[in-house]
Symmetry: D2
Subunit: 360 residues, 4 copies
């Protein structure tokens, strides 16, 4: 069985000759080796007959070893059993706390963006979401403010201190966007746009990879490999609902996938209930359920005037609903032995009470 | 629009002449009326042009009114806004507490049944599940102990004090089973076996109706009407996973359906994570998620020797895993402002410490 | 691997001592044996270590042998490689010709039933469909004329000479219905109503088993075993669309399943495009496609006044559309080297020109 | 209802002042107008209150008018009722004949490519398929020969005379590939990669747009608008199977979608049974079924040595199987009143008998 794969993880402090010794060992058994630098470690992937032999005792011990198959390698939980923390600006996803990213589906205008940003900041979000480039089902729908939308996001960050997370849709945009944003979002329709994934991997930027609504958990994990294989481990996987026969909700949120991902990969897991459900009343219970199932982070649509939103307004929460959600989420988190990630600055709420007297 | 439906709920203490007055009123406007006795109230369903007229002021006020369409009538939340509590022996589902029913998928033999029953009783289950008649995908699989299995369930009830809940598969069995069991379970494959539903409705027995794995939430609600229309409101609806393209879990547990059902119907909602997932490690996180999404009750497969189970053993929890689940569920319940339903008798655990020294 | 199964088919003309010899052979190797009489043959199912041994040369040769697993046994194509023909009154399904059964979704009244029956007879149907017991999503919809509907079907048979095929929904009805009908239909919602399947199997009556809209091809094949295991091989399997995320049609007709079933089972395969699609314009192309994919028979909803139908009228063809469909189907059949099954009596159309001057 | 849309089609020979007159008419009623040049016609899309007024009698008559909504505009069948023919090199799709494109899933090496190309040419294919850029589920699988693969495709075209159709995966590749290929294929994973669609639209090149395996027919139609809105009507839509719970085939081929598309859009429809099924034995019956359902063209995987294919070999037909398929397809086509598209050159087979003595 020469397609068996053996993965070895070495601390990056290992003497280079150690890695070299392992490479020679495998080479001598007709076994090919590829090495990746990932998460402050060297991960060696060996393929071939040598993976079935006893490991030589005279070479430096790997920190972890694991078997792999089917193209799911670098994301395997066994490689980094304590998990990977992903840093998106001042926010951290995957350190045990529950991180909430919130904001409008699409950036529409300065007033909408700033008031929504202030509201979510005030109520405990640690990051700001907002789409500047919007992949829409038809070319005749609002396609986002594009680069001008990015400028508004940057202003919102300046005012609130919250890092910004936004969707990238074109490999040609990656470099220019990387200069502005704190993290990339790769949308459900692009989960298997492998050129885009590779560019995002190369950028080294933190990214959120959403599950394709027609894709399996296995495919999400192997799509993630396109980013990891570029040496970029700053990756969050996001469940956002799948297509099923049930039409009562827009998509069927697959929380089993969240629990499964937490067991299979070291990457943190985010849930986007807003796009999955399309019914604001269901967002609160499903957000709580997502955390109970093991989610590390949430992505919530909030809009100060949902009925006037240019995109997916129906599913956005009002600021006051978001406030209530955060309050219930805080209690739920305690019930599962976790807590909400603290806001970026201690004196944050005071600042904003002063700045935004008009915000709900 | 003559197919508009108007529902009126009257306290059963209403003077019969009041009901009669309403019936005459509708009759005089060419509107047909059907009246159901349900949940200690009279529910009048009016169909026709009179439903669009102002309600006469000289007739006794209904407690609630609601519009209906599409065959979803008696289950509507608006009729009984505070919800319906279902009493299954000593257990209550839908009173705000979280009720856990647990036990083996199939009743196999006295030793397995008694030891599993004692274990789930000791760890806080308020009801016992166990299949005597097993609908199996192939005729060559173990089909259950049938009537002998019912006897074992009754013995287990006697020993533990827990009420028993078991599946009924044939309308010809309803009467005989009703003499033994505390509640019926109607399985996923029989959700649209309308003859069976009608018989269970007529029996007046409490029942759990599982969602068909290929059926929508709307279809679950209209299937429930077959039972309600017989005047039986002692009905719990149970989400147990639907068929999707995702094969990593046996079915895809649809927790959005739980939140949706809680908003649309007055009937309590149960979740069966065991049959949905088929992976024991995922049962705990998804059980917590189910309660966070709003479930009132849970149905958990427990087996003292899963590897020897005659049916679906792979997904059963060991007693010690069930104990941990209950402990985590207790904490989670606090996080959503609820609590686990108390065991049927205060001195219960003492009795069983004495009775079952051998149980995990 | 002691759960290996070996199937042996013997001509029923075999000397009983031959069967007995095989039974002793297997018994002597610790192998259990069950024998079924099916399709004029004896099928022996052996399970245990003896199935892995060379077959003794001194026993009478079985006509066919096959390996089985997973509970799919008596339906395997290898047992009866030339296929099984099912006789429903004067109609035969599975003899190579294309057999069309048509009629209204539900029997509604004498006028509707007779005029529709005459129309489909005139245009080449070889059997009559019509529902007397209708399993409806809600209890408030028309549930069929029940026994009175059966009487109308019998009258339509008398007038047209066409055999009648109708749905059975309750195991308690099987015996009484068997006295009237030519074949049973088991609906999609009852594919896994195993009590019903067993009763239909025992009745010995020809039956059409529809695939559950949430069930796999494998499950259809193992559900069929409930009927076959009762010694009844007069069974047609029917594809009628499955539940998917695509809402443009009511269900997604799975014609790959037709081709797959033809390769895996000796039972003939029918397709019901009417209930799958819900759009009359699509019925003709999909009917042609079904035959191109290998279907042996078709089930088509026809109604003389679709807009007044009490059940599923939207999808019914008008008689003139049915006539055109039959004409195109005749040509298509030639293109795949087959032909339409001939009408039951040669002088049929003449009779009916006289009888039914008013029919389209 | 100011979001009503009215579409008007004018022959491109119309006097420009006529178009101008219509534009002024709509402008005067507060109605916005956009005009597209498509298929040798001018298509005006009007949105606003003027679309609900009677059309003025003094302006030149449009050839066709249609109402639209939901972003499905330029692809509507009403605009070009006789359908659009798409020219891919010497092959035409949508002129009534059945056009078969065949070849290997991936271009692997000169020997494989040339021998497969000759085989499919000899047996009647009118175009050659072959992937040079392969979007693979994992980054560790063979990703195609990329630009070198394109060179091999060009050589195969030179030798066989067949036009080449190949997948484009990156908007940055469009211009360079357009210099070589005869038609683009946009794969199922890129159906909603709108940047790619827009670039392909701008290129003016013929293209085949495959349905996303998680996408609806409606979404396929609105995705097509991204290409049409760039003035490019040389577009074929391709059904290739969708994700469902049925795992017996890789995907579920949705032939209802084919019949539906033929009724809703003027664009021709192709079917790819190979990728849908993953089982070679099913390809022939489903290919026949696809044409019976109304398909204009087929895309078939053929490989001279399937067992050695670097990509999806399991589903490829051997040349002799392809030959039999073409022969049966020829007969089936007659059965639906159509015929196979003739090979590009009359003397073709003779040339190749000489050239390729070694080919099956």
């Amino acid at each position: 069985m020469t397609d068996a794969e053996l993965l070895l993880v070495f601390d990056s402090t290992i003497d280079p000759s150690g890695i070299e010794g392992w490479a020679q060992h495998f080479d001598s058994t007709g076994t090919t080796v590829t090495t990746y630098r990932l998460g402050g470690a060297d991960v060696m992937v060996a393929q071939g007959p040598g993976t079935l032999l006893p490991l030589p005792a005279d070479l430096p011990r790997p920190r972890q070893t694991a078997r792999a198959s089917g193209g799911f390698r670098l994301g395997r939980r066994e490689l980094f059993p304590s998990g990977t923390a992903v840093t998106i600006g001042s926010a951290v996803v995957g350190d045990g706390d529950i991180a909430v990213f919130a904001g409008p589906c699409a950036v529409e205008n300065p007033g909408q963006m700033m008031s929504t940003a202030r509201a979510v900041a005030r109520h405990g979000a640690v990051g700001l979401r907002g789409g500047a480039f919007k992949p829409r089902t038809t070319p005749y729908s609002f396609q986002g403010l594009k680069w001008a939308g990015l400028d508004l996001l940057a202003q919102a960050r300046e005012e609130t201190g919250l890092p910004i997370l936004t969707e990238v849709v074109d490999p040609r945009h990656v470099d220019r966007m990387a200069e502005v944003v704190d993290g990339f979002q790769i949308g459900t329709r692009n989960m298997q746009n492998f050129e885009l994934l590779t560019e995002v991997g190369r950028s080294g930027m933190p990214a959120v990879l959403k599950r394709g609504f027609g894709c399996t958990v296995d495919e999400l994990l192997t799509a993630a490999e396109y980013i990891l294989a570029e040496g970029n481990d700053q990756l969050v996987l996001c469940e956002r609902g799948i297509r099923t026969f049930e039409g009562a909700t827009r998509f069927t949120l697959d929380l089993s996938a969240v629990a499964l991902l937490k067991r299979r990969t070291h990457l943190p897991v985010m849930v986007d209930p807003s796009h999955s459900l399309g019914i604001p009343e269901l967002i609160e219970p499903l957000t709580l359920a997502a955390v109970a199932a093991g989610a590390d982070a949430l992505l919530i649509d909030v809009h100060v005037q949902p009925e006037q939103a240019l995109c997916d307004g129906k599913q956005a929460l009002l600021p006051e609903d978001f406030a209530r959600l955060m309050s219930r989420l805080e209690m739920l988190s305690l019930g599962v032995g976790r807590r909400l990630a603290p806001a970026p600055a201690a004196d944050y709420s005071e600042i904003h009470d002063a700045l935004t007297p008009d915000v709900v």
